[in-house]
């Protein structure tokens, strides 16, 4: 598979294609800026398409939102339907509706939840902050632990530590998040011991950092789920660096081992590892949905599940677009950092 990709004859010039595959002699002075511009353009386009799709899908396909919200409670009277349609701008054309919604995304005027009448932004904002804390803490802990475990396994390749971690990683990557979460609840807060709170219900008006003990189990779940990926990637990258000619050279001229690892090998193992860490932040954006639900942690994941349950369309639209934006943004950031971390790719060819 490796050489298949290397032999790719034609750069497709878009997300997913290699950054170096666009030799353009005249203005190749800043490959990083070049890549950034190109990725940003593709990203904005992708987000635009995403927003149109999300909007069309949720607004137009299933009858309409007014029917959805009234139909849930009782048979809707035509008058009530009309009032609600007017409030939701459903009596306007599709393009108008989309424009209203899109401009709302930028001005923060996103309308109101169909379920509790709260403004969408007011409902989502505290959840967004709590989810960001959860993801950030899990991502950082997972990255550090994963890289350390991976590098250590690579240094003792085929040793007992390597074998144990590789088999464990294989098993753990296959575990669904909710199985890990339930396992932790069984171990630490119900059946076996009662050390930690098994429910992370935050009192209204408080944020995750006001009650750090509530974060322990959700963070532990996410860390357990992402560490194996990072560990495997860090290991693979490190082994590759350690087997390279320049490390061989350093060894032959008698550079001490710690210096080889820290100065020669590790920097060159950074780029692929950063990519996988970035991918894991992406993964976390989906993973929080289930983990937040299990622990009743009031983040956007739980907000999304509740909104889907209630067909609360404005909330669904906003959270989905938010998650997609995060996805696209993280993809770009990951690529650029990985490029910056690979010296040979910084030089224009």
């Amino acid at each position: 598979m490796a050489s298949a990709r290397a032999a790719r004859p034609e750069p497709s010039g878009a997300a997913g294609s290699p950054p170096t595959a666009r030799p353009r002699p005249g203005r190749a002075a800043h490959p990083v800026l070049d890549l950034l511009g190109q990725r940003a353009a593709v990203g904005v386009f992708t987000l635009f398409v995403v927003s149109v799709l999300v909007f069309l899908a949720t607004e137009v396909l299933p009858g309409n939102a007014a029917n959805a919200v009234l139909g849930r409670t009782a048979a809707a009277s035509p008058a009530a339907l009309h009032r609600l349609e007017a409030a939701l701008h459903l009596n306007r054309g599709v393009a108008d509706q989309y424009w209203l919604w899109l401009s709302g995304l930028f001005t923060g005027n996103l309308g109101h939840s169909l379920v509790n009448g709260q403004p969408v932004w007011g409902y989502v904002e505290p959840r967004l902050i709590d989810s960001a804390v959860l993801m950030g803490v899990s991502g950082v802990i997972g990255a550090v632990a994963g890289v350390a475990l991976g590098a250590f396994a690579a240094l003792r390749k085929d040793g007992w530590f390597d074998h144990i971690t590789s088999v464990t990683a294989l098993a753990v990557t296959a575990l669904p998040e909710f199985v890990v979460a339930i396992g932790l609840v069984i171990l630490f807060s119900t059946v076996v011991t009662h050390l930690l709170p098994g429910v992370s219900l935050l009192p209204p008006g408080t944020y995750a950092w006001n009650a750090p003990q509530l974060l322990i189990l959700p963070v532990a779940t996410l860390v357990i789920v992402i560490v194996p990926y990072i560990q495997r990637m860090a290991r693979a990258a490190m082994i590759e660096a350690l087997e390279s000619d320049y490390v061989e050279m350093a060894r032959l001229k008698g550079v001490p081992m710690w210096r080889i690892v820290l100065v020669h090998a590790l920097p060159n193992a950074t780029a692929p590892t950063i990519q996988v860490i970035g991918l894991n932040f992406l993964y976390l954006a989906g993973g929080v949905v289930i983990v937040e639900y299990v622990f009743a942690f009031p983040g956007i994941g739980q907000g999304l599940v509740n909104a889907v349950d209630n067909r609360d369309i404005p909330v669904i639209q906003f959270i989905v677009v938010l998650l997609a934006a995060f996805y696209v943004f993280m993809n770009i950031v990951t690529d650029v950092i990985a490029l910056l971390a690979t010296p040979r790719h910084r030089i224009p060819r």
Binding site: S3, A4, A7, P9, F178, V179, I186, A307
Partner: protein, 316 residues
Amino acid sequence: MTVADPGAAAAAQPPVDRIRRHQWLATAGQAVRTPRGATGLGLVSFVVAVAVIGPFVAPDPPDALLTYPFGKPSGQFLLGGDFLGRDVLSRVLDGGWLLLLMAVTATVIGIGAGAAAGLSAAYLRGRTDGVIMRTVDVILAFPQLVFALLLLSILGPKLWLIVLAVGLTHAPAVARVLRSASLDISERDYVKVAELQGMRPAAVMAKEILPSLSTPLMVEAGLRLTYSIIIMAGLAFLGFGQPPPAPNWGTMINENRAGLALNPWAVIIPAVVIALFTIGTNILTDAIGRVALGVDRRPEEAALVDDLAPAEGGVA
């Protein structure tokens, strides 16, 4: 291609005369004979057996209220009662087959759609390639679970829709892998010969290129099956699965976790069965990847390392 041929990915450079008619069977056979492959196959077979034979040997009807809510295990009810007092053992035995069937169907849909898209993109190039890969980018902008939730929120939680949604979310990733795997195969001489003989593009793709992709297809199928189960059981856990009275391993975990302190088995057993299956498929896939690629890395890792060094003449 044999194991003694390290580094020769199916997509890389197996000479034409080595492509056998049932290459994938040989690869699978070799994989199953490795310790990992055997373990994986064992786990998968066990869970499949439970799911398939279970409904016929279940001691009680899964929906009957027979014991106390969260009743402790007893001689009559080996795993105790669930939150309504139904027999946990019977529900475990009954609650797997549909989940597995849905996961397999979603995997087949995902692999089929993804392979068709990836192959067409690689072979037809040009505008088709652009359109397909940009569509892939857009779908990949959603987390899989979020995309499935979005579809379900639009069209309502119907079983076929869950299958279709999960299958569709697999397709983009499959398309990417198969596109890159078939890019240089479509440049091979035997493909050119077929073209010169006047074969239609669809036939070239199906008869000349597809057979060389058996290894990436198998590895992808294994990966996607693992993810299918994870996502489907996850959706069921969130309440988007079979409607309530029906037993389902994912649903059971959620229904019964309120009574963890009373009868933990109602949660532990379904969780363990799901875990055994996903671990089994993952280990088996890993074994196939190792045998076929001869690389001490998972395919997705190889792809990542590779993406960063596209012009250096390959990494592995």
